[in-house]
């Protein structure tokens, strides 16, 4: 009795099993080809470079996945690399002044110069950027930049006052001048104010002493020292009405949000931060990384970079600039990336008003940092 009842059920289950197995076997190759695991690329960069607005579309189109590790400052970047085994990072975004140190320490791979379209660069300096080449070999490719000068609240300073670093000493700004808490750009600006021009990083003892004296005289005006978040907040809520050590990379974000802030390059000159991509030593994904760097130099990649949500930068290729002007004329105008603009990046460089950020030539970084600690405690 029992046998007769269970037999048809067993037959039916066997048929179902065979049917689903056959279906799975037929479909399996297609499923695999549609959903292959993405290639993971480990990126070391400033905040923002591994976010969806920059890499999202590229990830989707190329079946790669960026694992971004963010740092704050070149020293921090070098520290992270030095503590990791070779091959940990496939792609390294570095401030240009630290590329030489990356290279000297053997943390980056030689790159194939023929793979990048240097002819499309907006300025000759970008093709042969200091430190990016050694003995005719390429180790880093510039992808974006930005200028640092006087950042100010338009209700507290006029554009004319902001055209000199002396504006920071305006009596009405007492207690309302902030510093981005990194000695390098701040002391560089004070060096420019002292009239050191192109030799702003190359100062002998007397020049360095003069830079310290100028900086120290600003101390009574200073209301605080801030990181990115603090700088952003204090400018937004009006606690700080002028900021030393930054530029459009912070005020640009606020300006787009409607805050009455701006950045200008004063007559004494400004400083350029330059961001470049290198391939990490021992990376097993050099071809994929090269492809991504090539993408970041395409007009589309350049526009994404210029519009980066975390902090804007300027295009460094002709194709990128043309596409930005075409697709986002408002942002192109706001950031001075149009012909005739007062703060047009390439014109400022050609006029000799922009100096590439570097490290002190005659003092150690620790001497500058020591003074910075003294200054903060004064």
């Amino acid at each position: 009795m029992n046998e007769t009842k269970t037999k048809p059920l067993a037959n039916s289950m066997r048929r179902k099993f065979l049917k689903y197995s056959a279906a799975t076997a037929v479909a399996a190759p297609y499923i695999t080809s549609v959903k292959a695991a993405p290639t993971e690329i480990n990126m070391l960069a400033w905040y923002g470079h591994g976010e969806p607005d920059i890499v999202g579309a590229y990830e989707e189109a190329n079946n790669v996945k960026f694992n971004a590790k963010y740092y704050a400052g070149g020293d921090n970047m070098l520290a992270l690399i030095s503590q990791s085994p070779p091959g940990t990072y496939d792609l390294i975004l570095s401030d240009a002044e630290f590329v030489m140190q990356l290279n000297a320490a053997g943390y980056i791979e030689e790159m194939d110069a023929a793979a990048y379209n240097f002819d499309d660069m907006l300025h000759d300096d970008f093709k042969q950027f200091p430190g990016h080449w050694r003995d005719g070999k390429l180790f880093s490719v510039m992808v974006r930049g930005g200028h640092l000068g006087v950042s100010y609240n338009k209700n507290a300073m006029t554009a004319e006052e902001a055209m000199s670093y002396k504006g920071f000493w305006k009596p009405e700004l007492k207690g309302k001048v902030g510093h981005f808490d990194w000695h390098l750009p701040n002391l560089g600006m004070m060096s420019l104010l002292n009239g050191n021009g192109a030799k702003l990083w190359d100062q002998d003892d007397a020049g360095w002493k003069a830079v310290q004296e100028t900086t120290m005289s600003l101390r009574p005006q200073v209301g605080g020292f801030f990181d990115y978040g603090g700088t952003f907040n204090s400018l937004k809520n009006g606690e700080m009405q002028a900021m030393c050590g930054i530029g459009d990379w912070i005020t640009g974000v606020l300006e787009k949000d409607g805050a009455p802030v701006a950045s200008v390059i004063p007559q004494e000159g400004g400083i350029q931060f330059t961001e470049s991509y290198s391939i990490g030593k021992g990376s097993s994904k050099q071809a994929e990384v090269q492809k991504f760097i090539q993408h970041m130099l395409t007009p589309e990649g350049q526009v994404r970079s210029a519009e980066m949500a975390a902090y804007p930068g300027f295009c460094i290729t002709k194709g990128g600039l043309a596409l930005l002007q075409e697709t986002n004329p408002k942002e192109a105008a706001r950031s001075g990336q149009v012909e005739g603009a007062v703060n047009e990046p390439i014109r400022l460089i050609n006029e000799g008003r922009i100096h590439y950020r570097d490290i002190p030539a005659q003092q150690g970084l620790e001497d500058w940092n020591d003074f910075w600690s003294d200054y903060k405690n004064a």
Binding site: A72, G73, D75, N76, L78, A79, S82, Q101, A104, A105, G175, G178, D181, W182, H183, V222, G223, G224, F225, F226, D227, G229, G230, N233, S234, N237, G238, E239, G364, L365, E366, W368, N369, D370, W372, S373, D374, K376, N377
Partner: protein, 286 residues
């Protein structure tokens, strides 16, 4: 014989339960502490730490004026925060321990725990809205004809942050401690003609001394080592020792120098904690 065996078994039983915490302390406190001390004798070359035995980090830090000014400022702020928090917390704790019903006390304790649900950093950033020139406090003051006052990026801002960090914890610790005071002693003091204030100073505070001192000690430790409030509400001006540690590591990857600052901070906290515990457990002179 049987009693010795029994004792051995009891000791083994106790050791089994103590072992995890002993291991924990060795792995996560003594071990890192030994490494920290060793690291202070290392040197950094090309952003890499070299394992050696040199006094250069100690010489560098201890010969800098900014280290001493940062130390004094940090110590002064932590001491002031401890005194202020103790004074602010005591009336509330006293009321919760002696003046309210059991039910109200239970609810109050619950509400005192709630602030710990939110990240300290988030709470600190929310003070921006309240303390800014155009913030809530200055708007209220403006409505009665005062201000605006600069509260952010000053020591006042730092102190507000410290109070945010320590006050709920201190009220909890003080309330628990005061609740343990024998009510009969208070009644006896009153019966013997002692007024309220005298009873507080001669009976309640001595009886709850251990809890009150431990609460104050926690307050000092947390304020002394805090980085968030001095940086975000105090504007890093002047800088505290915690900020100095960050600055030191940021520039040149100088972990050995940061280790020197950290060891000085820990030594200070050891001395303060040891002195506080001695004071708390000191028997009153008969």
């Amino acid at each position: 014989m049987s009693s010795t065996n029994n004792k051995k078994r009891v000791d083994l039983y106790a050791l089994t339960w103590r072992l995890p915490i002993i291991l924990w302390q060795f792995l996560f406190f003594v071990g890192p502490l030994v490494f920290l001390i060793a690291m202070s004798f290392f040197v950094v070359k090309n952003y890499r730490m070299m394992e050696t035995f040199e006094l250069s980090a100690w010489n560098r830090i201890l010969s800098r004026d900014y280290f001493y000014s940062s130390y004094l400022y940090t110590f002064g702020m932590a001491t002031f925060a401890t005194l202020l928090a103790t004074l602010l917390a005591f009336p509330a704790s006293y009321a919760l321990a002696f003046k309210v019903s059991e039910n109200v006390r239970r609810w109050a304790m619950f509400f005192l725990i709630i602030p710990f649900f939110t990240s300290y950093l988030v709470k600190t950033f929310s003070w921006y809205v309240i303390l800014a020139k155009t913030g809530v406090v200055n708007s209220l003051l403006a409505s009665i004809g005062f201000g605006p006052y600069t509260l952010l990026n000053t020591w006042v801002g730092t102190m507000v942050g410290f109070m945010t960090l320590v006050l709920p914890l201190l009220v909890l610790l003080q309330t628990l401690s005061l609740s343990q005071v024998d009510k009969n002693l208070i009644e006896a003091a009153h019966n013997l003609g002692s007024g309220r204030v005298r009873t507080i100073f001669n009976v309640i505070i001595p009886s709850a001394k251990i809890g009150l001192v431990v609460g104050a000690l926690f307050c000092f430790i947390l304020s002394f080592g805090d980085f968030v409030s001095p940086y975000y509400l105090g504007g890093s001006t002047p800088q505290t020792l915690s900020i100095l540690i960050i600055d030191t590591t940021k520039s040149g990857n100088q972990w050995p120098r940061a280790a020197v600052v950290a060891i000085c901070m820990m030594t200070t906290l050891f001395i303060i904690a040891f002195a506080s515990i001695l004071f708390a457990y000191r028997k009153p002179k008969s």
